[in-house]
Amino acid sequence: MMQPNSRESRITRKFRGASRPWKTIKLFSLPIALLSVTVASGCKPTQTSPLTPSAEVSNVERAKPQVLITVSISPESRVKAVAEDIAMELHQGDWKDFLIEIENAAGITAPLVVESEQFLQSDDDTSRDRWLQFELQPHGALTGMRNEVRTLRLKSRDSGIRTTILNFNAGQGTQDLGFRSDVLVTFKVQEK
């Protein structure tokens, strides 16, 4: 289905003002002593670039976040992403928050993961094609609820026009077929 226009989001409205859908995993009934289980994961507050971004929170643009991407998880657990038709603008070196709306028809509780070849890999990464720093908040398991919202924070190292392909998945092999799990987004990045 084509969806060519920007829109007022029903999911965003639903969650506006509500607390974020955090979830904590505990293996409360596991016979740990007997089984020597190592709990390896759970809900983490953020998925981030391998950098140290959190000290720069003061630079976050305070404007009301826009919905950047809608992520749909089909009943067959296929993850599809659609970029909204909004003005994609960043300011070089400043964080900006966008919203990700998630429609989880499968009701799965796997973590939502965002990946991109344009994400910076270190503080001194000088690769031309890697220019984008990100945080996904909260990062971790989906709630299993039909609708939820997460925040994607983005920051550009460069100015000018920059393009990224953002890929979304909820575990190995969940990307939808036909390039539908990723979105091509072009930003106009104002020079600092």
Binding site: P4, N5, L27, S41, A87, I108, G144, R162, G171, F179
Partner: protein
């Protein structure tokens, strides 16, 4: 064409690479040399050199360039003459020099592409062209705003010879001074002003307008004001039946719709596409009426735009392009199996530039737009333009792929293909099947409503030589596809190819427990409703209902939810991490509640207890997940068998039958007998490239089997004997397609065990159970794993069960908990 001196290389390279992927996906790939050039440019430091090189490479592929000036005006420059094939589609590029940095949609129009119905008589001969921009994935619908980029336009001609086509382009932005868009209607909240219904019901759902006509004169209308001129009503939609639609309009001067102001358009049943209906408005427009159908039926509309037609607005500009259209020629197929009997086969047809025929993105069922191949049998035909083609011919994985050269001239030609097999398992008593395919949803359509028909699915199972296709109706298309359930193989079946409709619990009911494949159902829907909104939420309750009617039950895409690890129990991982002792998250829709279900027996149709779940689906998710959980429950003595599936076209749209089960059946193929033999495990699973037949235990305790593998590029494969999940012996086998008799010495088990053979990752037998001292199979480490896995599953799934089913869920998990605890207590180290 205008040249751009320099743009930032980073976005240009990403967008151009994306364009290359789009060309590949629509069957018009760049050449290997062009792709290599693009890859080399990624290492080039100079933005200027990259900008120039990309133009040098892609400008010759363009039908025109469109320069968008800073003031929004467009200048169109034609290319060299373009070659088309009669009634065949071709993808070309449009170079966009975007001086204004606009990020709107580039539109194309042509007086030569206007509709013929109701056109002026003296203009009919001039309407010989069809064209549309390709704005689908992986491209963005809108321009990027970069000063240089390329877009894809698709062209087709109905008339042979040399002609000039007027191509006009517009890149206006709605609401701007240069815009040609009068009004956009979007349906994310409501009908956005469309109303005044007659003979139809209108529902807004999933950002679409769903129209259901229930009378002979259905229409819907909307008030809209604009100055007069030639206008185009554009919308994206999908009617479910054939016929024509109509557009009426009225003005301030003549404020009622009447027959003197109407345009007719042809419906394209079952297809998602953009409709563009041009109409002249004399006076000031005040309203538009859309008659989507001529009688009862359905029509889904995703969006509607009203725009001025080309020439009515300053932003539209064009140029004449020379088009040379060559005649296409009939190509007939003559297809036989290796024994000379007629059969269906797969054909992938490419020209010397790698372009795929028929053009994929304009295909309709039975040909699928997401595949490169088509399926044809003797007597059928297609049309191809003159030229030389390479045709890849195949008939499933038991055939040897043939590459043929096809020369097409002016006279009809026949493509002869006789299948060459490296194995024919049916002649050896093993009948292939794919227990999980779909006729709707996933890749069939973006927004599944109906899907394709049984005859379309039969063509695909015949072409891939899948003897039994289990076509499963599931959530998004349920109310349409449910009509094909009959409790027996569908009437379109052509022996020995059987197509039967059953159910996958997906998108409704207990789907969050892990999807269930329910085969051989007698009743498709539980009592209490006639759709999918009243089903149990506990998978065990779904199984209780299915088993009471004698269904054969199993999981689907088993590895889903088992890929992420949340912990680990003590144990020694085997090769290929089989088995492994990581505890999966159980956060998906695969074999999740399965770890509980295998411990249960439920009432069968005669009241006799039988296992709640018969098989675990394999061959379409990571083996270290799906085979691992299978090994662990086998190690706890649960006699669950493996079956093979594709989940086409959800896990993949490449083809069905990628995952298969080969079921041993003497005599003729009968569906009920086939599925019962599957349930008993008289079968092996495979991707079709490896076969493990007649796995048996001799009196001396040794195991024998007949095996074969055909893997071009691989000299040999390892055939492993597996005992309780670990390989205990390995034999090398040539992967040359020859049948080979293998024998493994007695593994001398000290305790009861299960024994199987496998060729990782492409084939696995079902287990042979070895009884020692009348003790059940019980492996302590696996019991420990199952117990931990059960708790993790309960943690994840409990919240998905309806309150009314919570007490039963607690009882069911508690039963499983006690079962595994007992096995753990009784098992030897």
């Amino acid at each position: 064409m205008p040249l751009v001196e320099r743009v930032d290389a980073q976005p240009l390279l990403v967008i151009t690479s994306r364009l290359s992927e789009a060309m590949q996906s629509i069957g018009a790939p760049l050449t290997p040399e062009q792709i290599e050039t693009l890859n080399l440019l990624k290492k080039e430091p100079s933005d200027t050199k990259i900008t120039v090189s990309i133009q040098r490479m892609l400008d010759p592929l363009c039908v025109a360039s469109v320069e968008i000036r800073a003031d929004g005006e467009t200048i169109v420059t034609p290319s060299e003459p373009v070659d088309l094939a009669e009634n065949g589609w071709r993808a070309m590029l449009v170079k966009v020099v975007n001086r204004a940095g606009v990020q709107s949609k580039l539109r194309v129009d042509s007086p030569n592409a206007r509709p013929i119905p109701h056109g002026p008589k003296d203009d009919i001969d001039n309407r010989w062209l069809a064209l549309s921009m390709y704005d689908g994935r992986p491209l963005n619908a809108n321009l990027s705003g970069l000063e240089l980029e390329y877009r894809i336009v698709q062209l087709s001609s109905t008339t042979v010879g040399n002609r000039k086509a007027r191509l006009e382009f517009n890149a206006g932005i709605a609401g701007s001074a240069n815009s040609s868009v009068i009004r956009q209607w979007r349906f994310d909240k409501d009908s956005d002003g469309w109303g005044e219904l007659n003979d139809l019901e209108m529902v807004v759902r999933s950002q679409s307008l769903f129209l259901r006509a229930n009378g002979d004169d259905p229409f819907v209308s909307v008030p809209v004001s604009a100055r007069g001129g030639r206008m185009v009503l554009r919308f994206w939609g999908r009617p479910d039946g054939p016929g024509v639609g109509q557009v009426f309009w009225w003005t301030e001067q003549l404020p009622q719709a009447d027959g003197g102001r109407q345009m007719v358009f042809q419906l394209d049943p079952g297809s998602d596409r953009e409709y563009a209906i041009e109409f002249p408005v004399e006076g000031d427009l005040k309203g538009v009426r859309l008659d989507p159908l001529q009688g009862p039926g359905r029509f889904r509309i995703d969006w509607i735009n009203l725009e001025y037609a080309a020439g009515e607005n300053g932003t539209w500009n064009g140029a004449d392009v020379d088009i040379r259209t060559v005649r296409s020629t009939k190509v007939k197929f003559a297809v036989t199996d290796s024994d000379g009997s007629p059969c269906m086969a797969a054909f992938e047809i490419r020209d010397d530039q790698g372009r795929v025929y028929p053009y994929p993105s304009k295909r309709q069922a039975p040909d699928f737009f997401f595949q490169t191949q088509i399926y044809r049998e003797s007597g059928e035909s297609i049309r191809l333009p003159r030229g030389k083609y390479t045709v890849k011919c195949s008939h499933g994985p038991e055939s040897i792929v043939q590459m043929q050269t096809l020369n097409v001239g002016d006279d009809p030609v026949t493509l002869n293909y006789q299948v060459e097999r490296w194995i024919d398992t049916a002649k050896l008593g093993y009948w292939s099947g794919d227990h999980h395919i779909h006729a709707a949803g996933c890749l069939h359509y973006e927004n599944p409503m109906q899907g394709v028909l049984p005859k379309d699915m039969l063509r695909h199972i015949m072409g891939e030589d899948v003897k039994v296709g289990c076509c499963l109706t599931w959530g998004p298309c349920f109310d349409f596809q449910k009509q094909f359930f009959s409790g027996k193989p569908d009437d379109v079946s052509r022996y020995p190819y059987l197509l039967r409709y059953d159910i996958e619990v997906s998108g409704f009911g207990s789907h969050q427990s892990g999807h269930l494949n329910l085969l051989k159902l007698r009743q498709q829907i539980p009592a209490g409703g006639n759709s999918n909104r009243h089903w149990p939420t506990l998978g065990m309750n779904t199984l209780r209902w299915a088993k009471q009617q004698g269904a054969v039950t199993g999981t689907a895409h088993s590895g889903a939810g088992l890929t992420r690890s949340v912990g680990r129990v003590e144990g020694t991982d085997g090769p290929h991490r089989l088995p492994n002792f990581d505890i999966p998250a159980f956060d998906g829709i695969g074999a999740n509640e399965f770890v509980m279900q295998v411990t249960h027996e439920v009432d069968g149709p005669d009241g006799i207890k039988q296992p709640a779940i018969d098989f675990i689906a394999t061959m379409n998710t990571p083996r270290e997940t799906e085979w691992n959980i299978w090994y662990h429950v086998l190690n706890c003595g649960h006699h669950v068998v493996a079956s093979g599936e594709t989940d086409f076209p959800c896990m993949t749209g490449e083809r069905l039958g990628i995952g298969r089960v080969y079921v041993k059946l003497e005599g003729i193929l009968d569906y009920d007998q086939w599925v019962e033999a599957l349930r008993r495990g008289e079968s092996y699973v495979s991707d079709g490239t490896s076969h493990l037949m007649d796995f048996e235990k001799a009196d001396d305790g040794s195991f024998s089997l007949t095996a074969a593998a055909y893997k071009p590029g691989e000299a040999e494969v390892d055939v492993e004997l597996i005992v309780n999940g670990y390989p205990v012996a390995t034999q090398k086998m040539k992967a040359n397609g020859k049948m080979q008799e293998l024998r493994f010495e007695n593994p001398k088990p000290e305790r009861s065990c299960w024994v199987a053979a496998r060729i990782f990752p492409s084939a696995h037998t079902n287990p042979f159970w070895v009884n020692v001292d009348n003790k059940p199979v019980s492996v302590r480490a696996s019991a420990r794993w199952c117990l931990a896995a059960l708790e993790q599953c309960w943690l994840e799934k409990q919240k998905t069960y309806a309150p009314a089913e919570q007490p039963q869920a607690r009882l069911d998990y508690e039963h499983a908990r006690k079962t595994y605890q007992r096995i753990l207590n009784d098992a030897a180290e």
